[in-house]
Amino acid sequence: MSKTQYAQLSDHVEPDPINPDEIDRRALLGNWINSNPDTNSIARIKVFESNNKLQLQVFAVGPDGIIDWGTTTADVFAAGPASRAGAGFACTYDFGFAEARFQAMIMKGLLVLAQFHLFKDESKRAGYFLREYFAMTHDHF
């Protein structure tokens, strides 16, 4: 009898062991541009691999131009517990005065990015949430 622990029936699977590094990340890799040209948040995201880790470089919109957030490592998530298809990622940027947590998923070819911003300074700013859409730039048309 199976001893696999689960908290929802969809997790009651016993696939051939899947190493996180085996998750196919190709759908995530590329340059993603915000669908909203008037955004006050992230303009574009470069998603790439380095040392077999998924890396992000975020370029945000600042009052005086683009702000390069630098790179961070993201955890890759598949489409299901028995899937090897990468469907999204999660990561955190820690700026000291604030933290930005990302949860991203691919939907119909778009990258849907949920951002959670938490302030750690004394500014009394409330934590806030943003959800934006990004398209992968390409030269097919």
């Binding site: 929802q8 969809s10 997790d11 696939p15 899947i18 598949a78 604030a98 959670f116 934590g127 959800r131």
Partner: protein, 135 residues
């Protein structure tokens, strides 16, 4: 006046200062719109923002330990609405589920990022499910 630190324009949004983060619209019992789900059957958000999730099990419902959610203000209107979001992390020992929850057009949406911690060989994965308010 103290200069606020920022990494994007929205960090300077004036409505963030002393914002009234009201979660009333999220409070209640929410039932999965898909009665054939093999995932989350229902979710209850209490006035204190304690969140309880009930998963679908083989032999009946599986109630996850309740956790306190963190509220987030929402600066953007979506479909003419501005509702806040919650995040909650459920640590079940063998797995962790990092979730966020929000309302879109009256539908309660849970997005789940599951990480297995038990070496079972299952892939970490994400899922999204939709819920209606129990009258």
């Amino acid at each position: 006046m103290t200069q606020l630190e920022f990494k994007q324009k929205s960090h300077l949004h004036p409505e963030l200062i002393d914002a009234n983060v009201n979660a009333d619209k999220l409070v209640g019992r929410w039932i999965n719109t898909n009665w054939e789900t093999r995932g989350i059957a229902e979710c209850t958000v209490g006035p204190d923002l304690n969140v309880t999730i009930v998963g679908v099990g083989e032999d009946g419902p599986i109630t996850w330990p309740a956790v306190k959610a963190t509220p987030f203000a929402n600066l953007e209107e979506e479909a003419g609405q501005r509702t806040m979001a919650l995040t909650a992390t459920f640590d079940l020992g063998f797995m962790r589920a990092d979730t966020h929850m929000r309302i879109n057009k009256g539908v309660f949406v849970i997005v789940l990022f599951v990480t297995f911690l038990d070496g079972s060989g299952r892939a970490n994965y994400l899922n999204r499910e939709f819920f209606y308010r129990q009258a």
